[in-house]
Symmetry: none
Subunit: 154 residues, 2 copies
Amino acid sequence: MTDATGRTLYLQIVNDLRSQIASGKLKVGDEIPSTAKLKAQYGYSVTVVRKAVEVLRNEGLVMGQPGKAVYVQATPKDLEAERVSIVDLTRQVADLRREVHDLAQRLEDGHQIKELMAEVAELRGTVEQLYNRLGHPYPNDNADSAKPRRKTGT
Amino acid sequence: MTDATGRTLYLQIVNDLRSQIASGKLKVGDEIPSTAKLKAQYGYSVTVVRKAVEVLRNEGLVMGQPGKAVYVQATPKDLEAERVSIVDLTRQVADLRREVHDLAQRLEDGHQIKELMAEVAELRGTVEQLYNRLGHPYPNDNADSAKPRRKTGT
DNA sequence: GCCCATTTGTTCGTATGTATA
DNA sequence: TTATACATACGAACAAATGGG
C-alpha cells in the first residue's frame, strides 16, 4: 500500500508529476507520459497510474484527450493563485477600501487647483489691464516662463 | 457504458446522490448508503459505485471514514455560495483596483498644482514689475480675489 | 484481549468503448 | 485497417479502521 516514503503508490506518482510541472520540466501544453510508459517507468500497476493521472485531472493540472494524450493544463502556481481564500480576498478588499479612502481624501484637497486656476485668471486679467494702461501689448521677456493659453481643464 | 439517459453509470449515481443532498433528503452529517448497499440498489458494479462516491468526495460534498461510513460534508448550495462569494469578492477587488488606479492617476496629475503655483509666482512678479513701471504700488481692487501671501507649500 | 464482520481506501488485472493518427 | 491512448466498466483482493461479540 505504501512505499518506502510512507506515501501511497499513486500519490507518489502524483507528487512526482506535480513537481515536474511546477519545476517547468513539464510545461503547459506538453503531454505527460502515457499510461503504459508510466507503468513501465514506475513498475506499478495500470490502476495506480490511472489513479494518479485522475487525481491530477481532478486538480485541474492536466486534461486528457482520448486517442491522443494527457496534456498539462496549468501549473500548481496557477492554481495557487486562483485558490485565494476568502479571508485573503476580504483582507484585500479592506486594504483597497482604505487606500481608496486615503486617495480620495488627498484628491479632495485638490480644491487647491480650482483656487490656483482662479488666481491665475485674476492675475492674467490684472496683467492685461496693466499693459493696456501702459499703452503697449504683451512683451516677450515673460512669454517663455508664463506660457500663453495654458490648458487649464482636467 | 451509458444508460438510457446517455450518461455514464457512475455519473448517474453521482447526480442521484447530489440531488438527494441538495433536496435535504440527505442532510449534512448523515451517512450515505455503503458501497454494498449502493451496489445492490443500482445493480452496478463495485467499481462504478466507488467511482461515484469518489467524485462526490473530490467535490467536497462527502467525506469517508474508513471502518465507519461516508458522511455528508456540505450541500451543493454551500459550495455554490462559497464559489459565488469568491467571485463577488474577486470582482470587488478588481473594481477597487481600478478605482485606486484612477485615483492614483489623477493624483499623479497633481503636478498641475506645481505648474500653477509657478505660473502664479511668475504672474505676481510680472504684476509687481508693471506696477513699478506705472509708478505706484498695488491698488486695493484686486486684493480681495488675489489674496496676498497665499501659502504655496504642500 | 481477541476474533470477526463491515466499511472505506488502495491495488491488481482485464475488457470494452471511443477518439486520434 | 491497424495501432495507440484515454475513459469507463467489470471483478477481485488486501490493508486499515471501526464496532460487536
